[in-house]
């Protein structure tokens, strides 16, 4: 019973968070709701990034670009060839664009396409250990907007692609924003469970062993090339799904939706949430969505800072976390948990121990 306690607590926390998320829309307006939809999709992207960076030790500064790819795939499939022709674009004939789809079905497809591209990027990346990989993915993040602008017959160039907000299906009596909120969080829940299963199982063990010592892992029969490429593919799948959700939520994609800054902030919030801890990822997503808002006009104190303030706070927070809390937020929670555990243990031993004899 005692040994199962942590698992029970984790499960309880998961259920509690799920209930909070399900009830949240009752207490907020559409704008707030949309912010929490963004939290969901950042959460998905960060799960993927955490698998790659936290569990497999490969730094990616290009996840914003992968989200961008997912968003474009989703937008293109939603519009289909007829939709693009309405925009007077002329995509090459060999692109399998279809005739337009319901947005929600483009989510897994966007994930698959992005995952495939991630695999392709991941293969040369194998030769670029450590920092070179960070550089290569950083370069990808910087070049994606220019590539999107160059192939404007498919992507709509700098003007981007506008979509229609989807309608709530099944005749549900909720607004589109509510529907998109649930859509994003249900997807996030599924993706979290998948990530959790991968990380706990054989795959996760292989990833972690490579992170902690590639040579040792290889000599124990783990194929580093295979598992590292796989981590890249899985991670980009997550980013692609997140990107598709983003495209559906804002009903618009253009090259500047995914600036280099996004890629950098994704990595930063992943570290702030806690590398190698899936639970911290949720905190990272909250930070990524709300820190920019609150550091520009902080609550409680009456002040307005420059719109550059979020960057300064983000950067400083990141450095402080690395200095003081290498495990990020999840590490802090774990430390607190251990501290409480020890306090309880101390209290119970004191109670069972015989009371010291008192003379006076």
């Amino acid at each position: 019973m005692i040994r199962r306690l942590p698992t029970l607590i984790n499960f309880g926390a998961f259920v509690a968070i799920a209930i909070v998320i399900a009830l949240l829309p009752r207490f907020m307006g559409e704008f707030r709701l949309s912010q929490f939809t963004f939290v969901a999709l950042y959460f998905i992207a960060l799960l993927g990034l955490n698998i790659l960076t936290g569990y497999n030790g490969q730094i990616s500064l290009g996840h914003g670009a992968f989200m961008g790819i997912g968003a474009y795939v989703s937008a293109l499939l939603t519009l289909g060839r007829p939709g693009l022709e309405l925009y007077q674009l002329d995509p090459p004939g060999w692109l399998p664009l279809g005739d337009g789809m319901t947005p929600v079905f483009t989510i897994p497809l966007a994930g698959l396409v992005t995952g495939l591209i991630g695999l392709i990027v991941g293969i040369p990346a194998l030769r670029l250990a450590g920092v070179s990989l960070a550089l290569a993915t950083f370069a990808l993040a910087v070049s994606l907007p220019t590539i999107a602008k160059r192939f404007d017959q498919v992507t709509g160039g700098g003007g981007g692609l506008s979509l229609l907000l989807p309608e709530t299906p099944f005749g549900w009596d909720i607004s589109t924003r509510h529907w998109l909120y649930y859509e994003a969080w249900v997807t996030a829940g599924i993706m979290f469970v998948f990530a959790w299963m991968m990380v706990r199982g054989r795959l996760g063990r292989a990833w972690r062993s490579i992170r902690d010592g590639e040579v040792a892992a290889a000599s124990s029969g783990v194929n580093p090339a295979l598992y590292k490429t796989l981590a890249f593919g899985v991670s980009s799948f997550y980013a692609g799904v997140a990107g598709a959700l983003l495209a559906i939520e804002v009903a618009f994609v253009n090259p500047d939706t995914f600036p280099v800054g996004l890629s950098i902030l994704l990595l930063a919030s992943c570290v702030i949430g806690g590398l190698g801890a899936l639970s911290g990822t949720l905190f990272g997503a909250l930070v990524l969505e709300f820190l920019p808002v609150y550091s520009e006009s902080p609550p409680l104190i009456d002040a307005e800072f420059s719109n550059q303030a979020p960057s300064v706070v983000f950067g400083a927070l990141l450095i402080i976390i690395v200095f003081l809390l290498p495990g990020g937020f999840a590490g802090l929670v774990r430390k607190l948990g251990m501290w409480i555990n020890r306090a309880i243990a101390r209290a119970t031993t004191r109670r069972t121990a015989p009371a010291p004899a008192s003379d006076s």
Partner: protein
């Protein structure tokens, strides 16, 4: 042919800027074993300081020199306060600190000086020379000369001074250097200071053509990374050669290959880089890393 040579010269000018920043990256990589993602933002910050000095009425070259001194102090201070505490932590921790520095410095630059684009004076006349039909802009030549003089001065410093020798020793083997009485920490701080100076030179040379804004050096940083990796991330010669080659290459590709045009220069350069790395992961002048496990 004249047109071709013209493209080569202007390619060399931008290449010299890449080379300076790439050399800064290599300097830090050799001493601290880490790629400094904040190098570009440090350079931008220094360039803004130069702009402020000139805005307060200082003339170009005194402002230039004073900026270099400030950049040196700033770089050394960053090493002492931010990098030293994580020196012995895993590589990923140091990389993340430099990324944090990138984000924070970028925000700080925008906070202090605003996000709007500023014009930055050039010390060189906006005229051209004509040599045998080839039109050469004096701006390009000036940039090339300043960058190469800086690089040469640095080379002479490392090659002919005792301090330079000591710093090379520290980069080579910090433990043994400490055992013979070298103050390794001080040397690392000086290394960061020098790298910051190189970045400042690159920034001030790039600013007249790129115009000054908080993200000015981002693309330059990517090219500098590419140049450093192309030349071999641990090779100073490689960084300089890589920078110049890259500058000429992208200029020629942009001018003569229609498909590339001006938009696809960066992706194409990166693609070339990837291909080189597939064949020679250590870069053109780099050393094959041998690890003991």
């Amino acid at each position: 042919m004249a047109d071709f040579l013209q493209q080569v010269v202007s390619g060399l000018a931008s290449g010299a800027i890449f080379a300076s920043l790439a050399l800064a990256l290599v300097l830090i990589y050799r001493s601290t074993d880490v790629v400094n993602f904040a190098q570009g933002e440090m350079a931008t910050f220094a360039t803004y300081i130069a702009w402020s000095l000139m805005d307060h009425g200082m003339s170009y070259w005194p402002a230039f020199m004073l900026t270099l001194v400030l950049a040196f102090l700033g770089g050394a201070a960053i090493e002492r306060t931010l990098i030293r505490p994580v020196e012995h932590r895993p590589e990923i921790a140091i990389v993340i600190v430099t990324i944090g520095l990138l984000i924070a410095l970028n925000g700080l630059t925008g906070w202090i000086w605003g996000a709007q684009v500023k014009a930055f004076d050039s010390p060189f006349p906006n005229e051209t020379w004509e040599v045998g039909g080839v039109v050469i802009s004096q701006q390009d030549v000036g940039v090339l000369v300043v960058c190469l003089v800086t690089v040469a001065a640095l080379w002479a410093f490392f090659r002919f001074t005792t301090l330079g020798l000591v710093m090379r020793a520290v980069a080579n083997n910090p433990t043994s250097s400490r055992l013979v009485g070298v103050r390794v920490g001080l040397m690392l701080a000086i290394g960061w200071g020098l790298a910051s100076v190189l970045g400042a030179v690159a920034g001030m040379m790039a600013a007249p053509t790129l115009f000054l804004d908080p993200t000015m050096m981002l693309i330059v940083l990517i090219y500098a990374f590419a140049a450093a990796v192309l030349g071999g991330i641990d090779s100073p010669v490689g960084a300089v050669v890589g920078g110049l080659v890259l500058g000429v290459l992208i200029n020629l590709l942009g001018a003569y290959v229609d498909f590339v045009g001006s938009e696809l220069r960066l992706p194409t350069a990166l693609f070339v880089l990837l291909v080189v790395l597939m064949i020679r992961p250590q870069g053109l002048f780099g050393h094959v890393a041998v690890r003991r496990v």
